[in-house]
Symmetry: C2
């Protein structure tokens, strides 16, 4: 089975950041990011914007998977809590659809490095051409 990366499902911005879309199916997605110098903030840790981009990408993949991978939703709003700083290594973000309505979806995401919780997020996505009950 091809991954979303292999099928060309990754956005230009996800490719710029080097995100790996490992899984996206049935309202759930797993995306990996590897820390590198280009993603650093003024403290030398992972920039909050890069971490948010990982989250938004994973949420988008989970959201689109409700429509068989078609990009039929956009982010309306998102809230992220940053829990631990990251200075190196790989991060995994798991995102999942909590509710898929006709007009909107509600999603959650967690970012982990190994066993450690790095960030937690919750968002609302808008359906562009009619949603699907979950």
């Amino acid at each position: 089975m091809q991954t979303p990366d292999e099928t060309g499902n990754a956005s230009a911005f996800a490719r710029l950041l080097g995100l790996q879309i490992l899984r996206a199916a049935e309202g759930e997605a797993l995306v990996r990011m590897k820390m590198h110098d280009g993603l650093g903030n003024l403290h030398g840790n992972l920039h909050g914007g890069a971490l948010f981009s990982l989250i938004d990408t994973a949420m988008g993949q989970a959201s689109h998977s409700v429509f068989g991978g078609a990009p039929n939703t956009v982010t309306l709003e998102c809230k992220v809590n940053y829990i631990r700083p990251v200075s190196e290594g790989e991060l995994d973000c798991r995102a999942w659809v909590v509710h898929a309505g006709r007009r909107t979806q509600v999603l959650e995401a967690e970012v982990h490095q190994g066993e450690k919780l790095i960030a937690k997020a919750q968002s609302t996505f808008a359906c562009l051409r009619g949603g699907k009950d979950w």
Copy 2:
């Protein structure tokens, strides 16, 4: 007077995205982003993560300006509302400190393209070595 860019105050990630820090002083900052193909999402519009990165960078600059530019704070949490999609051109993000306490700061930010409001955000930053009354 040197801009924060010229003084080396831009993070590696801000440079990767091509952000221009135009102003950062007295709890307020102005940062510019130019849309390019590398920042695109699956719809060909500006990726929500790139837009959030512009916001977080502007908030960081506004926050640090309370300490004369020293990076003495980190983002604890941020909520963003996406209002209009962006497909091309330049965006300006203005961020400002609403309250600077000893332990935390509260900030707001708006992103505009010309007269149009593109996104609105609100956040909490943590002070690393003691804050300053505003």
